[in-house]
Symmetry: C2
Subunit: 177 residues, 2 copies
């Protein structure tokens, strides 16, 4: 295949509730990796705007969005690059499907489950979304009035209310190396 | 940025009617490039299945599909890889939008306009789609009962009824090198 120089593709998939730190850690891990690897961050909000503007927040639509992110991540990782995905991705079956397709392509899949107690997240709430959801003004808000299925066997679990940002980055890097 | 070893990303965009040779040339060019570059082919039919199953063939839906392929192509090419796209992409404005976004990302965009006379395409017609469209059994079929806007300034134009497969591949490679 002539790919001696091509490293094995990698998908790092951050899953967890809004505000738990997915996008922040995705950017931090990208910064750590990009000195020696090509890296692309696929952020759930950005992907929704460009790829899934037609989709809402029903289970079917969320699963479709996760599948699309997975498709892009595989396309990136098949070239030998690292795709770092930051998406709530609340349903375990959709995440597992993305993993299976990546692994079938010879791509390593590292699922990082981020957690923080709801009272911590509602305390942070920089966009005021939890307040709106708790007040009933926002429906289908994961963790408040829409379900979240935690990963059963993630490569890494981090509680971002207990572990600082630098320590979280270091933990992810240890799993990747 | 630490990207000394990373080549400049590249999108090769084949546009043209069904049966004109987009997928075939995409695979051939991939085979030429992959000895020294990471390459990913984004085939219109495959992308539709995974990314755009919700979309039909109206102008708005075709443009949305082209935008999505462009999003994936940029994600691939930003890592320094080559994204080869094979999609009818009949509307010039949507193609130009994808080009502008790629170039804004520092990615080179090479548009390859494939053409063959309709009588040649209807003669090939391996899937019998032209026959159905001409019989009125298939609507929104580009080139028969749906418009196609040829590129105004593509990097390369090839008439696949006049130029053989090997010569087409060689012409694309000359533009890329």
């Amino acid at each position: 295949m002539g790919f001696e120089r091509k490293p094995k593709g990698l998908v790092v998939w951050f899953t967890g509730l809004s505000g738990v730190g997915k996008s922040t850690l995705a950017r931090r891990v990208k910064a750590e990796l990009e000195a020696h690897r090509a890296v692309e961050v696929l952020d759930g909000d950005e992907v929704r705007r460009f790829l899934s503007a037609d989709l809402g927040f029903s289970k079917a639509d969320r699963d479709a969005n996760v599948r699309r992110i997975g498709f892009v991540a595989r396309a990136v990782a098949r070239t030998g690059a690292v795709a770092i995905c930051a998406a709530i991705s609340p349903w375990a079956a959709a995440r597992d499907e993305v993993r299976a397709l990546a692994e079938a392509d010879g791509v390593r899949f590292v699922e990082v489950a981020l957690h923080a107690p709801l009272e911590v997240l509602t305390g942070r709430d920089p966009k005021g979304l939890y307040a709106k959801a708790i007040a009933g003004e926002l429906l289908h808000f994961t963790g408040v009035n829409d379900p979240y299925e935690p990963p059963r066997n993630p490569e890494l679990r981090l509680d971002t209310s207990l572990t600082g940002e630098d320590a979280c980055v270091a933990a992810v890097m240890r799993v990747l190396e």
